[in-house]
């Protein structure tokens, strides 16, 4: 496919050059700035100034002004021309001789510097020797198989090197030390400094004219077999793929990123980036094609043309306009090096965006996405293609000139619903991907609102995720949309996110009540309760708790019982208010009080009393309803008993008053126990309930955490009840025996033995007796152990004391008493507090003499 990369513009018309003389032809040409030099077959040199100007239509145009023409004094054509502008010289090849002429007046230099025997020559544009006052040229000599290197100065020439080649050379290129030569059968690279040569590839130079064109640092473009344009580096490798020319190419040049070639009928333009033929211009009688400082100049035998490149951006836009995305991108990428970085970036991003939209139009979403991403597309450009997605508050307007040709999605898909759906799915994935990246910076509102709308419309599960996480959905725009798509639950979430909890709960309540339909959540009621539980807004709680409790007390009360632990900080609900509020919900209030008493462990009499009273009411109520004990009743009783036993806070008397006249005997006994009226309690258990095991358990319970004598007292009390001579019966006797045998260790054995009637056999009480003996043995041994331990502890202390008093005192006849200074004759002595031994009699005497304290002579004085 073609692209318009160049425009062919006439620069010097035939009229200006040769008038109507038919036999005069252009032989060679040179451009240097605005100067054009032309050599003709009649040995003339012409000099023109070329002004670039635009025609009325904005197309490029040139005006040439003739400066000078000069005959070189021979009858031969001027073969080649090269400007050495730094020297102000033209190097001219005519009649196998190179001469040097002045660039301005075209006169040969006075010194008459010449090189004879030259077939063709080339200028080294990248000489190793960087002397600015000379030009290095490579020459194919008329001498067989000979290359020469010369330096051309202002008015002299100097040979540097002469080399011979294996075959006759016919074309020459030069860069650095590297000569690129077309020989008879092949191209070679020849290093004129080292003499090393490198074969490139075979080419029959006799069959077809070879082309050697230096295109850059150490790189050449060569005509290859089969009409190829091959690239070769000085190292002998190809770094770019070849381009395909016709078989008869006359000349070639590079104007990045294009290779331009001329054959008999056409100018062809290939891209170096993808090797494709991009443009063909018809050009009859083509004679020369050469590039000068980036400008491509062509001639016929009669006139001069310039191939003016179209601005790259225009070329790219042309490609994009014909939807040739890949080529456009390759071209843009290729231009990266030739355009200032920031300018390139702006241009390139826009191209990427345009490319993305073209691909989007083809539903090539992954490619489109990649280009949108790389091109830093303002996502709103994309969103705006979808009708109604951008919020009404959005300030977005599409960029101008537009990035694409689509009015909207309907236009793009021609109303194809399947395609529309695909586009929507793509936008969903794209927006959800970028919404939390910097791509969305600055217009999160637009992105999130669009996403919400897409989710709602597509019934997408991520709608809820969007709304429960941080988002920027615009409320005003989203509400009607969610309503339209009956996403009431989601709408509630949106209200909540925007701080409108009341509206949220109101809406959800309507769903639960069946006034609105949205089955997003089957457990919406529980959800609302949970919501209220974790809400810190008290007025909201009070407003909706009634509704929640009326639906289900057990669940509803969780609003109060499951409140988060950290609520303290935010101002927590006052339990008294809650209790007052829950008054009318018999089940809920019990659950709440249980929460306070058992979970929160609140030690307040009124909660405990209240709960106990409620338990009691419940038990009594159930009790009165049916004679036969139900499961509910027994569990209620267990709860009541449990509370009565475990709690010490409730008002015993109050409850006792309520219970006394009912047949909740056991509970009554517990209450007596709380009052420490154990005789009454035990009496109930033994005589009214006749539940001896319960009585025993009772004693154990009531004496829990108390000292052993307390327990002993209770057990004796129970024993006394059993053995009450006034109401003696067998069952009680057996109970007494069992009690004794089971709890032998608790009783005071001596007291028991006094109580036991004579008639009881030892066998009967055997377990008790052995238990009692064991107990007393045990306590005896325990006290012995304790005694032993105490003694040894005492010894340890003594030992410590001795140790801290110091070592032994040595006493001998040589040692004297510090008081009388006589020696010791007997082992007795007194150990003076200052650590010296003295005679016992001296000590006694001293005590007698001075009862008050006195300074003793220092021991050290006598050593």
């Amino acid at each position: 496919m073609s692209v318009k990369a160049f425009e062919l513009v006439l620069a010097v018309e035939r009229e200006l050059l040769m008038g109507d003389k038919p036999r005069i032809n252009i032989e060679c040409i040179e451009c240097c700035g605005k100067n054009i030099y032309i050599g003709t077959n009649d040995c003339f040199l012409h000099h023109f100034l070329l002004e670039e100007k635009s025609s009325s239509k904005g197309n490029p145009a040139f005006a040439a002004q003739k400066q000078l023409q000069r005959h070189l004094g021979l009858k031969k054509p001027v073969n080649e021309l090269k400007a050495a502008s730094a020297l102000n010289r033209l190097i001219v090849l005519c009649d196998n001789t190179i001469m040097v002429v002045n660039m301005l007046n075209l006169e040969p230099v006075p010194s008459g510097a010449k090189i004879k025997g030259v077939v063709t020559f080339t200028v080294n544009e990248n000489p190793v020797n960087g002397d600015p006052f000379c030009v290095e040229i490579g020459v194919i000599s008329v001498k067989k198989r000979t290359i020469q290197i010369y330096m051309v100065y202002e008015d002299r020439v100097q040979i540097v090197k002469e080399l011979s080649t294996p075959e006759q050379p016919s074309a020459i290129g030069l860069d650095g030390y590297f000569l690129c030569l077309a020989l008879t059968t092949q191209y070679i690279i020849l290093n004129y400094n080292t003499g090393a040569s490198q074969d490139l590839f075979p080419y029959d130079s006799e069959e077809r004219k070879p082309i050697v064109k230096r295109i850059g640092r150490e790189e050449f473009l060569l005509a290859a077999p089969g009409g190829l344009g091959m690239f070769a580096t000085a190292a002998g490798i190809s770094q770019r793929a070849p381009v395909r020319w016709s078989e008869n190419v006359i000349g070639a040049a590079v104007c990045f990123p294009y290779v331009v070639a001329l054959d008999e009928g056409f100018i062809t333009v290939h891209s170096m980036l993808d090797q494709q033929l991009k443009q063909t211009l018809s050009f009859r009688d083509g004679h020369i094609l050469q590039d000068f400082e980036g400008k491509v100049v062509l001639t016929t035998t009669k006139a001069v043309y310039v191939l003016v490149p179209l601005p790259l951006e225009r070329q790219i836009q042309d490609l994009l306009a014909s939807h040739r995305v890949e080529e456009a991108l390759v071209l843009a990428e290729g231009a990266r090096r030739n355009i200032p970085k920031d300018k390139f970036q702006v241009m390139y991003r826009r191209i990427l965006q345009q490319a993305g939209f073209i691909q989007f139009g083809r539903l090539q979403f992954s490619e489109a996405k990649e280009h949108f991403r790389k091109g830093h597309l303002d996502v709103r450009e994309l969103i705006s293609l979808y009708p109604l997605l951008l919020p009404t508050t959005s300030t977005f307007t599409r960029s101008h000139p537009p990035l694409h040709e689509f009015a909207d999605l309907n236009h793009l898909t021609q109303g194809d619903q399947k395609k529309i759906l695909k586009c929507k799915r793509f936008l969903i994935s794209y927006l959800s991907e970028i919404r939390s990246t910097e791509v969305a910076n600055g217009y999160r509102d637009d992105v999130d609102t669009a996403l919400l709308k897409l989710y709602a419309e597509a019934n997408h599960e991520s709608l809820l995720d969007l709304l429960v996480s941080e988002n920027a959905c615009v409320l005003m725009d989203s509400v009607p949309w969610l309503e339209k798509h009956k996403k009431f639950f989601a709408l509630g979430l949106l209200y909540h996110y925007n701080g409108q909890d009341d509206a949220a709960v109101q809406l959800w309540m309507q769903i639960v009540n069946g006034e609105l339909h949205d089955d997003t959540r089957a457990d919406l009621y529980e959800y609302i309760v949970d919501f209220l539980t974790f809400s810190s807004k008290q007025d909201l709680i009070w407003k909706y708790a009634d509704w929640a409790l009326q639906k289900n007390e057990k669940v509803g009360v969780q609003i109060f019982t499951k409140r988060p632990e950290d609520e303290e900080k935010k101002g927590k609900l006052n339990p008294d208010n809650v209790i007052k509020y829950l008054h009318k919900y018999s089940q809920a209030i019990i659950l709440y009080l249980e929460h306070l008493v058992f979970e929160k462990n609140i030690q307040k009499e009124k909660f405990h009393s209240h709960l106990a009273a409620l338990y009691l009411d419940r038990v009594l109520q159930l009790h009165s309803q049916s004679e036969t004990p139900s499961e509910e009743l027994s569990s209620s009783r267990t709860k009541l008993q449990n509370l009565l036993q475990k709690s010490n806070l409730y008002r015993v008397q109050l409850l006792l008053g309520k219970i006394k006249d009912t047949d909740l005997k056991f509970e009554c006994a517990i209450l007596y126990g709380k009052l420490e009226e154990y005789d009454k309690a035990l009496h109930i258990l033994v005589h009214q309930l006749k539940d001896f095991q319960a009585a025993e358990r009772y004693c154990l319970w009531a004496s829990e955490d108390k000292d052993p004598s307390y327990r002993q007292r209770l057990f004796h009390m129970l024993l006394a009840l059993y053995m009450d001579p006034s109401i003696s019966n067998d069952a009680l006797v057996m109970a007494a025996v069992d009690l004794l045998n089971r709890h032998a260790e608790v009783f005071d054995a001596v007291r028991v033995l006094r109580l036991v009637p004579e008639s009881w056999s030892v066998q009967l009480l055997c377990p008790f007796l052995s238990g009692a003996i064991r107990e007393s043995m045990h306590s005896k041994r325990m006290s012995q152990v304790a005694l032993g331990l105490a003694r040894s502890e005492n010894i340890i202390h003594k030992h410590e004391k001795m140790k801290s008093k110091g070592g032994p005192i040595f006493l001998s006849e040589k040692k004297g008493c510090q008081l009388c200074h006589n020696t010791f004759s007997e082992p007795e002595f007194v150990f003076h507090p200052s650590g010296i031994p003295i005679h016992t009699h001296c000590a006694a005497k001293r005590n007698r003499e001075s009862p008050s304290r006195r300074q003793y002579p220092n021991v050290n004085n006598h050593t």
């Binding site: 590839f201 089969g226 490798i237 793929a241 070849p242 381009v243 980036l273």
Partner: protein, 239 residues
């Protein structure tokens, strides 16, 4: 796009129509589509880990034969491709293409690839991916040959034998070179059979060479060991 400097070069050689372009296209674009006869040569840059690998697709036509040596100059790996249904295409590798590799690196790696395996091998024919069939769309793309459509002319043993002859030609010691089993493939550009395996194995084998080149460039020293190695190999072969 293709302006990055390649770290290493890989060249695909073989007679025209064996499927060189198709193989490369399958690997790079993950598709099989009609190719036009390659003119002169073409190349792709493949990013492989931190490296850029340039892969040259050459023209099998006689007319462009002379360019082969230049493409091979400095190559780190050469993929010699034949068509399993065409015995002559294997013969050509040895007669016409092997000498082009004289300009390749001395430690160049060789792979021998018999393409169009789908025509003779049921497994290769069935390798086509689901995604591929879908994108092909038409029924023809989805049908499997009930039996191999064409006669297989080149057996894997023939390729292995060629591989050994190549090592001998290159005077490379057998035990210092990758084994034949690792370097002889049967592929199908049409179904993608073994295509990734081929390229990735070759890439993995050239990576150490890149590293070596880089460290050598840094230390700028001559690897004496390498030279003596070469000499030994040559002596061994002449004897």
């Amino acid at each position: 796009a293709k302006m990055k400097k390649p770290d290493v070069k890989l060249v695909i050689l073989g007679d025209m129509n064996v499927g060189k372009t198709s193989l490369l296209h399958r690997y790079i674009e993950r598709k099989f589509k009609d190719t036009i006869s390659t003119v002169g040569g073409a190349f792709f840059l493949k990013q492989w880990g931190p490296y850029n690998i340039s892969i040259w697709d050459t023209a099998g036509r006689e007319q462009f034969h002379g360019l082969g040596s230049m493409y091979c100059r400095g190559a780190a790996a050469v993929i010699l491709t034949y068509d399993v249904t065409n015995w002559q295409s294997l013969v050509e590798l040895e007669q016409r293409f092997l000498s082009l590799t004289d300009t390749a690196n001395s430690d160049c790696i060789f792979a021998i690839v018999g393409n169009k395996a789908d025509l003779t091998n049921l497994k290769a024919a069935a390798a086509e991916t689901g995604e591929e069939r879908e994108s092909n769309g038409n029924l023809a793309g989805a049908q499997f040959p009930a039996s191999p459509k064409m006669h297989k002319q080149v057996q894997p043993e023939d390729a292995v034998a060629l591989y050994h002859r190549i090592l001998r030609y290159k005077m490379l010691e057998e035990k210092c070179s990758p084994p034949a089993e690792a370097m002889c493939f049967e592929t199908s550009a049409k179904t993608g059979y073994n295509v990734d395996l081929l390229f990735e194995r070759v890439f993995d084998m050239v990576v150490p060479g890149i590293l070596k080149k880089k460290t050598e460039a840094m230390s700028n020293t001559v690897d004496l060991e390498d030279c003596s190695d070469m000499q030994r190999t040559k002596l061994g072969c002449c004897g």
